[in-house]
Subunit: 451 residues, 4 copies
């Protein structure tokens, strides 16, 4: 395989992308005009002339205001749907013959017209990215306007195909990455805010830091998702030393652990299209190859929602928590409780077990852990390895997770088995120390909740 | 947009591709084992563990012999289909409610299971290329085993999405292109055989030659389709001077015409997924940008099938052609008729008009020109511009097209209109010289055929 | 010529460079140890074993403190010189024979040993850059320690050869350039400070801005010199609108002028090796190719030193300036004189003519303009085109040049001729408006100084 | 260090190179015109205007015929020399003062004017390559016209500086390398002819083959030197299995040895500028990194000149060889002696010891081995490891070296020490088996020659 040759292939894609968005600088158009343009796209025969039409429709869309976009989405949902009569006829034909051809025709009849529309809009330069942004607009409306879910289902169906993992490309990000991409990291970082370019540089340029992202050829230099990694000696318990501006970097060769401390999705419009699991596993492979001495692959993850859950338990009839514990938790009301080492230590003794309980026993309606981060890593085949007290003492960390940070451990050889047991039986793999914490939680819980 | 950064993105794709095929070096497996592997792929939850399973299935497939492949195709068609009962139930639910959700479920019920299987096989490194090759195998069986058409329809549906023009990349090919890609040009050239590396070099490296290809990021350095262009002064009539080893190159800046003299599809497995029209139009754009002085964009195309058609007319009751013409055509029986300039000239006077008639009046069942090359260019919006006598005096050219070569002219401003008229009314745009020829054809045709 | 292949060639250079500097992390060494290492380098036979020795010497040097470096420079000057006796003998042999071989031997005898030493130090990975930095250290000492000039001459001689214009590479810098290079621009910008990354982005990423730099393959991603360009309609008079954060960008295609508003040398260690003239001329070529509609290539340059000169004239016996003028100039003592439009206008009427006089009539000992910026551009073949009052109202601009900015105009067809006349006769090419100003200066100057 | 950015830097160099040579297509000029152009280059001040002049001089040179080139070389030697009077004066000033400045002036006075000329010619686009080709022309004349040696010395001096190893770039060559470079390998291969593209592909594309070349940024895609490597199990004795079209490739990971079987210099004009030693050592480093399991780095080298030497010994008074041996050697007169296994075996018993004697004992005037290949590898620090009988049974191999092939072994840890002993004492490092052979040679040699 030849790399240098292939590397040039991207140029036209990205240049075309630029062209499209220049075009959309034009004067605004109305919702009706965009609908007309979409009709024309569908009426054309999908060949070259479609490209110009599709381009017109997309740049028209980009110039709509919020209300017009809403109207467009409704029109797409209602008027670019499937034809019930045609479906019925197709089903009858199929039912009579059970033939493959009839099935194919039924299948086509069922497909809403807007799927073909989206495929044709994608023909145009930069079309893929434009459609991702269009779905981003759509998603913001979904809660208020559940009728648009059908349209969203079409986006999701096509994106699942277009953003198939086979088309994604993993790329290391460092201080030599173009500024145009780096600034997107600053913008997209969701877990631990990157304050400015100096902060970014510290995170990327130290010998003991790595960053990787997935890209898709058709949307050019827009990362889809990225992950930040710290190379450490031993598993890290706390995030502040990692983010600290003055941290003493170690040589990558001296590290025995790789800690994933931030995973950020960049394209809201791709919600539900899963990349994160592939990303972690591929980064593990990359790191194993670069640094064969690494033995631990672990996350340093927050517990968002833990505080909310705990507060609920404290209030709602208080039938879960023992009185002694409730008493203790009142200390959380004190300002700066976490800086008083004695108070903090005592609180930790109570809260860490509760967190172990929360992460492993508290489930959602599907019987999976209520905590989304836990669901993500356990579903990927990781083990719940350690719960660290005062692992994140930032305001945000204290507010969301009472300062707790969790290590999920990825043991390459166990991933498949863990994943299997989790996805069939909902089994949460825990280290003995977490099991121990969970046992200690019993004495803080009222009888029925002891598990 | 940043190019140099993006250029590196390909590396992982291509490296993974290499890995996959190494893996398939293993010991052969049976048809049943591949079927089992496919089942497992579908039963897994589509996450990371699927990749390993998909990879196993694909490399298993690669080791099957022809008969086992056939059996696998039948199994996929019959056992990885849709469930009639589920379809019926879904239709009933939809029919009762006409709801969007019910429609979506019906749509899913109609989709043969093998579509999801193919999507998951595509997760794997090099999966896309492997699937293209799998369909190549399938296509060779289609004529003999029409039952497999349903399976082929699923391939075509997915490939239409994956090879959407928005994902293709145009790339100039020249003498600085890696040898690994150039050798594929030698292999794939379908129109005018490239004899060896010296011949290839002559075609690529002269100042008055260009070559472009479409690539797809996920199948790396395999071209999908390529086109060869000669830069000329005036529209070329004959192919031999262009292919001639000793042709005197002119400076690109001196040319006023770009002649497309060979378009070759490279991936049999992508049959029916249309690229050619996009390719020609994008190459016209590229050339206009590089060489603004170009005024003509034209093909130098063969008329494959013309001789067969003519021979049929000469035999089949002979009710089409006037006797004088039939008499004249007997000269074609002489060896080397084309080297006797007098004979050749006289034949040309008769055959060129007939070719004009053939290309414009002789239609297939859909009412479109019988000649496939004409259909392609006219459908793209080109004009039938000139019919050149003795334009290809190679053995193949004489055998297939009596030595005729055709110029189809692409006038950028007329393309959309021509295409429109062709696709709505079947109208064939002709130059006045071709119309003139067609008129002259009347005297060689029996009454009913004069049009 | 093949570009994509060649593009990969740099990788080894830069990787080796990184290696070298990692090596120098080691423990500090003494001046004597570095001298010993240098001796060993010279005694080795210049083959592969030299590389390790050279690498040792260079990393040793990097660990020296300031005083030890000074001692090393003296040792190199005194003890790695040429051998007088050998020179005398070689001259005698040459004098006797006048033979070519004898001349060659004399030439070799004259060459100080340290030249060969520097050549061998350059063998090592990253050696070139290390030597540039070594000369940077040397230059800081030169004023205080003029005896080191002989050593500096050897550096200059070799750098002149190694940094021959034929080895330099022009590269456009934009927002897609790697951050590692961009941060060097922030550091090196000498003319109009780049405050931070946002400021940099504004300068690079607007449609009407360009930036170019020269690089040398052997010192990788360190720019040698760069120039910033604004694309404008009409020749710009003032720098503030160009630097202004909120300037309204125009489309590059709408500009008729390219204004060079900042040229910064990046490598102090290359002082005296001239790039700037080549840079401007090559950038003019690049811009002409990209934007053929450009008609003016002009600088917007400061007049550093003008205020100092003027202050001197005001004090030193005051025999140059007429009393009326001196009276007027006292207004410069007022705070914020430049914001009082009436005062400013009146001052401008006096000072612009004086500046025209200063730039064209006031010469240094070589008979060339005293002003270094004027020398540079006039020597390159530019014309002194316009003197703009209040062209730079920044504190620095007011302090150094009383707010004046100058347009030097590069007319491609006149460059050679202008350069010729300047370099043979010291002739300063001026526009008629500047000549006019100069005439008006007469009435402010005492008799003898009117020219 | 940033690679992807730097990779683009080459483009301008190579594009300029192409431009230069297009320019030289012009009409031929006379020797006098080129001399005039050279004069102008020297009289210009070395700034931008020089580039146009230099370009004119170089393209003028390219259009000269052989005789005019000869005349030009004489003019450069005679009229662009140093000025004796100026030298004498400079020496006197230096002799009087012994000052550094005076030395510098003397040094400048001694330098022939043509060195500055060559430096200025190098300013131009593609100048470096043009000068290398100019020296190539010069070298062909040197034997006949020894007076031109002074001019050649200037070339050699400058090339030594410009082609300093610090500026060279190692690059792997494989089947993905651009065809434009690969065809140069076919042309330049000096040791074992590459017959055609298929042969080339076999040598590059097999899993157990490697090829590396040195490039210089300023002469773009012209390799300077390249080496071919076979990865083998055990040290190879014979070249034919390596070159064999049908050889069974092994996986690179299974090899324990890397055998260098062809080193070819590509640029005649760089004769005497040494790269080969650096190349081998850097390739050893590359291979160690890629394939850590490799334990042997060895050549498979010919013994050119051995047969000539042996034939001389057989004739010239025959005082070296014992009669029995002479008798035996007459069998070499038989056609196809090497295919008669019995005869061949007997001859081998005699000739291998003689070869050991020849390679280690027979010296040139400098006391170094007479055999140039031995001098090269032993000088690099290799050990004479094994002498293989019938290692090359090609016509050329039999003719030059009686079919013998030699393994020189590079033991990374011993290289420096071996090199040291060789270069100080002329000590040839041998394996015990070679020493053994040498001992056995005694009985074939007459008394005085036994060593």
């Amino acid at each position: 395989m030849n790399i240098s040759f292939l590397q040039e292939l991207f140029s036209s894609i990205t240049q075309r992308d630029a062209l499209l968005w220049r075009r959309s600088d034009g004067k605004p158009v109305s919702h009706e005009q965009v609908v007309d343009a979409c009709r024309l796209v569908l009426e054309s025969d999908g060949e070259a002339s479609s490209i110009a039409l599709a381009s017109r429709a997309l740049s028209g869309y980009a110039s709509l205001d919020d209300e017009q976009k809403t109207r467009l989405f409704y029109t797409l949902t209602d008027d670019f749907a499937a034809d019930p009569e045609r479906i019925d006829q197709a089903w009858q034909a199929y039912h009579a013959t059970r033939g493959n051809l009839e099935l194919q025709l039924l299948c086509e009849a069922c497909e809403p017209e807007r799927q073909e529309l989206l495929r044709r809009l994608n023909l145009t330069a930069g079309g893929t990215h434009a459609l991702v942004r269009m779905r981003e607009d759509l998603l913001t409306r979904l809660r208020e306007m559940p009728e648009l879910a059908a349209l969203d289902a079409d986006f999701a169906h096509l994106f699942g195909s277009w953003f198939n993992r086979g088309f994604l490309v993993l790329k290391r990000i460092d201080w030599n990455t173009p500024a145009a991409i780096l600034e997107k990291l600053i913008r997209y970082e969701a877990v631990h805010e990157i304050r400015d370019w100096n902060d970014l540089r510290r995170r990327l340029d130290a010998r003991d830091r790595r960053c990787y992202a997935f890209f898709h050829p058709a949307i050019g230099d827009e990362p889809l998702i990225f992950v930040e990694v710290a190379l450490t000696r031993g598993l890290p318990e706390r995030i502040q030393p990692i983010l600290d501006a003055s941290h003493q970097a170690i040589d990558a060769e001296e590290a025995d652990s790789a800690a994933f401390f931030g995973i950020s999705n960049c394209q809201t419009g791709l919600r539900g299209i899963s990349f994160g699991n592939f990303l972690i596993k591929q980064v593990v492979l990359e790191l194993q190859q670069e640094l064969p001495q690494l033995v631990n692959f672990v996350t340093l993850s927050p517990i968002p929602g833990f505080r909310v859950w705990l507060d609920q338990q404290r209030q709602r009839d208080q039938n879960l928590l023992e009185d002694e514990l409730l008493q203790r938790l009142t200390e959380l009301g004190r300002a700066d409780w976490h800086t008083d080492s004695e108070v903090a230590a005592a609180l930790g003794e109570h809260i860490r077990p509760l967190a172990a309980h929360y992460l492993t026993r508290v489930r959602n309606e599907q019987g999976l852990p209520l905590n989304a981060v836990a669901r993500f890593h356990l579903g990927n085949g990781a083990e719940l390895h350690r719960i660290n007290w005062l692992g994140d003492t930032s305001a945000k960390g204290l507010a969301n997770g009472l300062g707790l940070m969790v290590n999920y451990l990825y043991v390459p050889d166990d991933i498949e088995r863990n994943h299997e047991r989790y996805s069939t039986d909902g089994k949460v793999m825990c280290s003995s120390s977490v099991r121990d914490l969970r046992r200690r939680a019993r004495k803080f819980l009222k009888g029925d909740h002891r598990t």
